[in-house]
């Protein structure tokens, strides 16, 4: 069964076609990986899916609903959470507030105190799970790169998305942290969250994903379980340029 899928998604910047009639579908409740050489359109794909960029043509549907023209926050509220390639946190807000900012109050709740007990507990919960709870009171700009990655993740998780899109979660983090993120993804997936991960680190991809989609020049060239992808020479071709 499919939750997130795109039909003939197309996006061009100026002259060059970045997404070329891309039709992909990701498996619900699984850890999906999206790989491919640099410039194969993975991040653009994410941006189109999450509404940050308007595709020129094509459709994006999530859980059966067409979300192509929705605003990013509407898509987020539909259950799609994402992180950014160069991780983005709110630099001048404390770690705790960074996470709390992910709550989505409505109506009268908007005027209630931002640090309500329930939220704060949940936020601290996530911080603890990611092992940065002790930094709660510090402004995010003072965190190390790895800590910021974790913080961004905590924020996304705080917004309780059914499906989490991670854009290079392993980018520039030390091996130890890498394992930790990998483990975390697995745990959360076990709790029923769907993941779509763009990642260059093959070890991580192969170790955690159930289903892999390979991009080349803005279109999928292969998909399947890690075991299959490992041996697919089209993939090797794409990477080695043979």
């Amino acid at each position: 069964m499919h939750s997130l899928e795109t039909v003939e998604l197309t996006k061009a910047f100026g002259g060059n076609l970045v997404l070329d009639k891309t039709s992909v579908s990701f498996q619900h409740g699984k850890v999906n990986a999206l790989i491919g050489p640099n410039g194969s359109g993975k991040t653009t794909f994410f941006n189109c899916v999450t509404g940050l960029i308007r595709p020129d043509s094509g459709r994006v549907s999530y859980a059966g609903a067409d979300i192509t023209r929705r605003t990013p926050h509407a898509i987020a509220r539909a259950g799609l959470g994402r992180t950014f390639q160069l991780c983005r946190v709110f630099p001048r807000m404390t770690v705790l507030d960074n996470v709390l900012a992910a709550t989505r109050p409505r109506g009268a709740n908007l005027l209630r105190g931002a640090r309500g007990r329930a939220e704060t507990d949940r936020a601290r919960g996530w911080l603890t799970k990611l092992g940065i709870e002790h930094l709660a009171g510090i402004e995010a700009r003072n965190l190390s790169w790895g800590q910021q990655k974790l913080l961004e993740l905590a924020g996304v998780l705080m917004s309780e998305p059914e499906t989490v899109l991670l854009d290079e979660p392993a980018g520039g983090v030390n091996p130890a942290l890498l394992d930790r993120i990998g483990g975390l993804v697995r745990d959360l997936n076990a709790e029923g969250r769907t993941f779509v991960i763009v990642e260059h680190n093959m070890d991580l991809v192969m170790s955690i994903s159930d289903h892999i989609v390979v991009f080349d020049r803005g279109r999928p060239i292969a998909e399947g379980p890690p075991s299959m992808i490992r041996t697919d020479e089209r993939v090797l071709g794409a990477y080695l340029g043979v």
């Binding site: 999450t50 940050l52 605003t71 990013p72 926050h73 987020a76 509220r77 959470g81 994402r82 950014f84 983005r88 946190v89 709110f90 630099p91 001048r92 807000m93 404390t94 705790l96 507030d97 709390l100 900012a101 992910a102 709550t103 989505r104 109050p105 709740n109 908007l110 005027l111 209630r112 105190g113 931002a114 640090r115 309500g116 092992g131 940065i132 002790h134 930094l135 009171g137 510090i138 402004e139 003072n142 965190l143 190390s144 790895g146 800590q147 924020g155 996304v156 917004s159 030390n174 130890a176 942290l177 394992d179 930790r180 990998g182 483990g183 697995r186 070890d203 192969m206 170790s207 955690i208």
Partner: protein, 356 residues
């Protein structure tokens, strides 16, 4: 965000300062040596209300408006016209007028806030110029360049008494504006707004309806600006488009807010006290000269270039560097944390499940 990591002594000091200000403000009418000084006090208070109102947009969302002068002018004129043409009682007119300004702010915000970045500033400047044009040209309705004369709400009072009353009215309005700012600041709405200021895309991706948030806070800001303008109209009595819709009013608000620090509740107030008093002082000592403009411009440029977070915060940081007790030590702390961090990671490594 100072509120988050401020040491206890600093907080107490702050409280004392606030109380001291309140005391002086309440006593001011009786210690002011003559009516002129009192009227200056009112002008400064008016600046304080305006820049605080401005800070609803500037401080929370980081969107800088140079056009709030026009909103104040609209407040003044709508109040004045409601009294003279509509025959409403002065203070009813004040309220209705402010609501009108808020209503006008909706379409303006819609045009200005949809597109990100400088277009907001452009629209805000355009707003001043267009309102000036309209209120000058539409003489039959607004009185045009001859200005509009707003009848006094308390005709009986002599001028000094009149000043005294309005001083307290402005003080009350200031308190109200500060209260609302504080409420938003600590609210979830406020948190969302600050998220927008920090990184609008990120906030949007986390599910914050950024456009709606910006629009709402812009309208709130417009409402208070309108109130300030209207109250000024009732106090001052003579409205002239050239002055009511002057680009300078807006830039004073920005300067005051930036100077005092847009992230602090009291930043704009302090900025207004400094700049406002300075303006009037130099006028008395050296008379009016275009050098006021030069000073304003230079000051603004310096703040923008070197202390975009405000002068007072910058000074505060400077002071803190010398006192060990407070949060200047963030960096060392994080250094320590980082060490701890690595340790923990190292420790957890083995615990990690190895699957693949």
């Amino acid at each position: 965000m100072p509120s988050a990591s401020r040491a206890q002594p600093a907080r107490i000091a702050g409280g004392v300062a606030v109380l001291a200000f309140a005391a002086v403000a309440l006593a001011f009418p009786s210690i002011a040596p003559n009516p002129y000084i009192l009227s200056v006090g009112i002008v400064v208070l008016n600046y304080a209300v305006l820049s605080t109102s401005w800070n609803f947009v500037g401080g929370f969302t980081g969107y800088i408006s140079l056009g709030h002068g026009a909103l104040a002018g609209l407040g003044a004129y709508s109040t004045g016209l409601l009294v003279t043409k509509g025959g409403l009682p002065s203070f009813v007119a004040l309220g209705v007028g402010a609501l009108l300004v808020a209503a006008i702010a909706v379409p303006i915000g819609y045009a200005a806030l949809r597109v990100r970045g400088a277009s907001f500033v452009i629209v805000s400047i355009a707003l001043v110029l267009i309102t000036l044009l309209v209120f000058q040209s539409w003489a039959s309705f607004t009185g045009g360049s001859r200005g509009l004369n707003v009848p006094r709400p308390f005709p009986g009072l002599l001028r000094p008494e009149h000043h005294r009353v309005f001083f307290y009215l402005f003080l009350a309005l200031l308190a109200l504006a500060l209260l609302v700012w504080w409420l938003i600041d600590r609210s979830r709405f406020g948190l969302g707004l600050k998220a927008i200021r920090e990184d609008e895309d990120k906030a949007e991706a986390l599910g914050t309806p950024t456009f709606a948030y910006k629009l709402v806070v812009f309208v709130v800001s417009a409402f208070f600006t309108g109130l300030a303008g209207g109250l000024y109209a009732l106090w001052f009595g003579d409205l002239d488009p050239i002055f009511q819709f002057s680009i300078l009013t807006g830039s004073y608000m920005v300067l005051m807010a930036l100077l005092g620090g847009v992230r602090n509740l009291f930043g704009p107030l302090v900025g207004a006290l400094v700049v406002g008093s300075a303006l009037e002082y130099f006028k008395v000592e050296f008379g009016n000269s275009p050098l006021h403009l030069v000073a304003t411009g230079v000051l603004l440029a310096l703040v923008v270039l070197f202390m975009p977070d405000g002068v007072l915060p910058a000074l505060g940081a400077l002071l803190r560097r010398f006192s060990p007790t407070t949060d200047s030590s963030i960096r060392e702390v994080t250094a320590a944390e980082l060490a701890a961090e690595r340790a923990t990671i190292g420790g957890e490594q083995h615990a990690q499940p190895r699957n693949g």
